[in-house]
Symmetry: C2
């Protein structure tokens, strides 16, 4: 059986962008099956007393993060444009992703959303940008956007966010192995992959 790894991401999260763009080929090359798990950081941040991104609450940290992200994207040859709006409302994107991940276009949609937001600096909180991403993937945007507002999807996203919190997740991206080992940050992806592979051999 192939080792598995859960990839927990939030569309508003900056460092989730390089993680989302590089995870599939690296996981495949290592024979690890990745499960994409969108969730919302908002409720988790609120529980910590934050009503905004820590990168806005702590400006020195924020300035550094944007510079660091630009360097990381440069090293990965990923386009990068700092969006005017940050953090962005990721609710619709996360719900649509859940619809897509239950079908076969979810991962492509996630990459398209991140490219829109951090590769082009546009606002994924605007439904027309989500609709455009869906159309580019050949989906019926209206139908999918309606499906994404179903109670089953709303509840699934809520449950997934609660599960993230139970797992000890406090930031994104995070990676969790089948035996519950938690890794936080795009820079911990390699260590998570290695853990997942060793776990299967144990």
């Amino acid at each position: 059986m192939a080792p598995t790894l859960d990839f927990w991401f939030e569309f508003a999260s900056t460092y989730s962008y390089p993680a989302a763009m590089r995870i599939a080929p690296l996981a495949a090359a290592n024979g690890v099956d990745v499960r994409w798990r969108p969730f919302l950081l908002g409720p988790i941040f609120k529980a910590q007393g934050w009503d905004n991104s820590p990168f806005n609450l702590y400006p020195a940290k924020g300035r550094y993060m944007w510079r660091d992200l630009a360097r990381i994207c440069d090293a990965l040859s990923l386009p990068f444009v700092q969006p005017a709006v940050f953090p962005q409302n990721s609710l619709i994107a996360a719900r649509v992703a859940l619809v897509g991940l239950a079908q076969d276009w979810g991962e492509d949609f996630c990459r398209a959303v991140y490219t829109c937001e951090f590769g082009e600096g546009r606002n994924i909180g605007e439904p027309e940008n989500i609709a455009a991403a869906l159309k580019a993937l050949g989906r019926d945007a209206n139908a999918v956007m309606q499906q994404a507002q179903a109670d089953t999807i709303k509840n699934a996203l809520r449950a997934q966010t609660e599960e993230a919190q139970r797992l000890g997740i406090f930031g994104a991206p995070s990676f969790v192995t089948a035996d519950g080992e938690l890794f936080w940050g795009n820079d911990r992806f390699e260590a998570a992959l290695e853990w997942a592979r060793k776990e299967v051999k144990r």
Copy 2:
């Protein structure tokens, strides 16, 4: 001229431990000269509204950090014992380090302090532990401890902490290249080394 890199560290900082233990051989192998720059995070955290370590203020983040640090130490074959006291008072250690770094035993002293704190789980805020580290290095502990209380040293540490803040440093360890590029975290050391080397070629 060899490329240079400033290594900004705080003795109370957990991730500064693996950084301090691995920096010298890696920098030497890459032909980079490292300047060790102890500073205090307390005033910087206070300016952000924190009166404690963020790892204590945000328990999920703290639990993760200790686990992550244990994994990192394991991968580097570094001893690791979680100290009962965290964060520790690093004032005396930082002042003594400034005395030693102006002579030729500073880096060894810094490594000894980190080993005491995170390799053995003891309290570096207790002067007798600092004295023991000095004695183990063949220094006159009483004389050095007295030198470390001189106004010149106190002012030098204050000035260094203010310089860190001016450079945009908000956490430890941090690495700053000669052209002012800032890298934060033990996991960014390799990127900082690479930047320092490329800078010289520019």
